[in-house]
C-alpha cells in the first residue's frame, strides 16, 4: 500500500475524457514522477489530488483517508504540502515572516484568534523558522522582502515554507517550468538534498525529462488520460510505448 492511492479515477469534461481509469500508488519515502506530453491529463490529475476537482468516479486516498471534496487547508492539515509552478510565496512579507506563517499554521490549525500575543514572544515558532532557514541556507536573507529575490531563491523559500510543516507528502507541480538551466539544476540539487536528508515522499508532475530522470525513483507515464507505463527510470527510457506517446504523433 502506498501513502497516496489513486484508484479507478475517471474525469470527463464535456466530450473529452480527461482521465480514464487512472490507478496510481505513491510509496512512502520515494520520489514518484508523473510525466506525459501536453494534454495527457497531468494537471487534471493534480487538481483531483488537491481537492480542486472532484473525479466522476474513483477514489483518492491519503494514508487511508479520502482527500476528495476537502478544502485546500484541510488537505494541507492531513500532511500534504504543495509546490506551485510559479513559486507562491507571501511577496510583501520578509523571508522570515514567510517561513513563520507555515509554522504558525502547523501549530495553531485552521484558525486561532491570538490577536494579543506579540509575534516576538512565540519563541518556539521563531526557533523553528530559523532552523529551517539555516537548513536551506537562507538565514542571511531573513530580513529581505520576498518579492525582491531571484526566481531560484523564491523557489528555495517556497520549499522552506513547505518543509517547515514537516509534510508527509510533497506535491510538486512542474517545479522547474520556465526556469533557466542553472536555476533548474539548483532546484534539482535542492530536491535531492532534501530527499537524502529527510527521506520525504514526493510526487512530481513534470514534463522536463532532464529533471525527471535526475530525480525520480519511479515514473508513471500518462498519455491521453491513461497511465501507460509505470517503472523505474532506466526502464522508461527504452520503453517503446513511451517513445510512441511522446513522438508517435509524427508517424501516424
Amino acid at each position: 500500500m502506498g501513502i497516496l492511492e489513486i484508484k479507478d479515477v475517471n474525469k470527463r469534461f464535456g466530450g473529452l475524457q480527461a482521465l480514464s481509469n487512472v490507478n496510481l500508488s505513491v510509496k512512502e519515502g520515494t520520489i514518484h514522477a508523473i510525466i506525459g506530453p501536453n494534454g495527457a491529463g497531468k494537471s487534471t490529475l493534480l487538481n483531483c489530488l488537491i481537492g480542486k476537482l472532484i473525479p466522476d468516479t474513483g477514489t483518492v486516498t491519503f494514508e487511508g483517508q479520502s482527500v476528495l471534496g476537502r478544502k485546500p487547508h484541510e488537505i494541507n492539515q492531513m500532511g500534504i504540502s504543495r509546490v506551485f509552478q510559479t513559486p507562491e510565496i507571501f511577496t510583501d512579507l520578509t523571508v522570515f515572516e514567510n517561513v513563520m506563517i507555515p509554522c504558525l499554521a502547523k501549530r495553531d490549525g485552521a484558525f486561532q484568534l491570538n490577536a494579543f500575543k506579540p509575534v516576538l514572544g512565540e519563541t518556539d515558532i521563531i526557533e523553528k523558522a530559523e532552523q529551517m532557514l539555516i537548513d536551506l541556507k537562507m538565514i542571511d536573507k531573513r530580513h529581505e522582502i520576498a518579492s525582491s529575490m531571484s526566481r531560484g531563491d523564491k523557489r528555495r523559500l517556497e520549499m522552506a515554507m513547505c518543509l517547515a510543516q514537516d509534510p508527509k507528502l510533497l506535491l510538486l507541480d512542474e517545479p522547474t517550468a520556465g526556469m533557466a538551466r542553472a536555476d533548474t539544476n539548483n532546484t534539482i540539487e535542492l530536491l535531492k538534498e532534501i530527499q537524502e536528508k529527510r527521506g520525504l515522499t514526493m510526487a512530481i508532475i513534470e514534463h522536463d525529462m532532464h529533471v525527471v530522470f535526475s530525480l525520480a525513483e519511479r515514473i508513471t507515464v500518462l498519455a491521453q488520460g491513461t497511465p501507460i507505463v509505470e517503472d523505474a527510470p532506466e526502464n522508461i527510457k527504452g520503453n517503446k510505448k513511451v517513445q510512441e506517446a511522446y513522438l508517435g504523433g509524427a508517424h501516424e
Binding site: F90, L93, P102, L104
Partner: protein, 399 residues
Amino acid sequence: MLKLDKKDTTLFLVVIAMTLLAPFIMNPFPTDSGLAQFNAGYPDLMQRFAIFGIFAIGFNILFGLTGYLSFGHAAFLGVGSYAAVWMFKLLSFNILPAIFLAVLVAAIFSLAIGFVCLRRSGIYFSILTLAFAQMSFAMAYSVLSNPSFNLTNGETGLQVYADDPQILKGSGPDATHLFGLEMRNTFTLDVGAWAFQFNLGFYICAMFLILAFYISLRIFRSPFGLILRAIKTNQTRLNFTGTNSRPYTLAAFVISGMYAGLAGGLMAAMDPLAGAERMQWTASGEVVLMTILGGAGTLLGPILGAGFIKYFENIFSKINDSVLQSWFSFMPDGLSDFFVSIVHPFVGKGWHLTLGLLFMLVVTFLPGGLVEGGQKIWSRLRNKDKDGGAKSTATTPAE
C-alpha cells in the same frame, strides 16, 4: 512596556502625548490674530478628530491588513449611534452603557454582514458591503420609522425627548455625562493671547482613541496580524499552508465593525442624536479616503488621514470671500480681486476640490500615504546629516 518593543513603545508614547496635548497643538495661533481661523483647538472639532481617528484605525485593521476594501463601514457607525441614543432614551444620559451597547450591536451587525460579504473577495466584496450599507441606510431612513414601529425616527433623526422613560435618570444631569460629569464641561485656560480649551468630552474620546490605537498596535504585532497580512499578499498560498482564511477575514471584519460602532457610540455620546445620513455611502467613502490618504496598512496613517480630512472639512470650508478679501487686501484693487477669484473655487464650499487635488497628488506620488511622505523626508534628512547630502541617491526606493 505593555508588551511592546522599544520602537512601538516610543510610537505609542508619541500618540498619547499628541492626543493629550491636542488642545495646545491644535491651537497654535493667538485668538486675536488673523490666523486664528486656522486653529482647530475647539472641543467640537477635536472630538471629531478623535472619533474619526478611531473609525479609521478600525477600518485599517480590515483594509490595511487583509486588503478587503469595505465600502459599507458607515453602516456600523450608524448602528452604533442608534444603539447609543436608544440607551439614552431608555436608561439615562450616562455614556458607558450607551457605548457598550453601541459596540455590541455593531459587532453582531458586522458579524451578520461579514458572514455574507466575505464569501467573495475583491470588487465583489466591496459591492456587497456597499449594497448592505445602502440597505441599512434605506431601512433607517424610512422602513424602520413608521408610526407603529419607530426605531430610527427617519428623517428627523433619533433623539431624546422629555417624555422618554430614562428609567435610571433620577436626578442626573440633562445632558450626556459620565457618572455626573457632563461631556460639554469645558475649562478654558488663558495664556497670554491664547485661549486653550480643555473639554471633558474630548478627553473621553481621546482615552478611547489611545485604547483603540493600543489594541490595533497589538493586533499588528500579533500572529493574527501576521496572518491577516498574509491574506492580503497571497491567499492561495495561505490556504495551502493549512490556514482557513475565512474565519480570519471575518474576525478582522468584526473587529473593525466594533471600532466603527465605538466611533458611532462616541458620536452620540458627544451629541445625543443619530441620523440616517451617518450610514450613507458618502460616509463610508470618507473613511476609505482617510485611510488611504494617511497610509493604508500603517499604524499612524489612519489617524493622520482622519485628522487631515476633518481639518479640511471644518477649516477650509469656512474661508469665504470676505476672508479672502482681507488676505489679499494689501494688493492693489484689481490684482486682489484677481487673486480672490482664483483662490475662491478651492475654499469655502469648494474645499472638496482642494481635498480631491491633494488626494490625487498623494496617491500618485506617495502611494503609502502621508506616512510614506513623512518617512521619505525623515530618511532624507538623516542621510544628509550623515554624509552631508552626498549620498542622497541611496534613499530613492528601488522599484
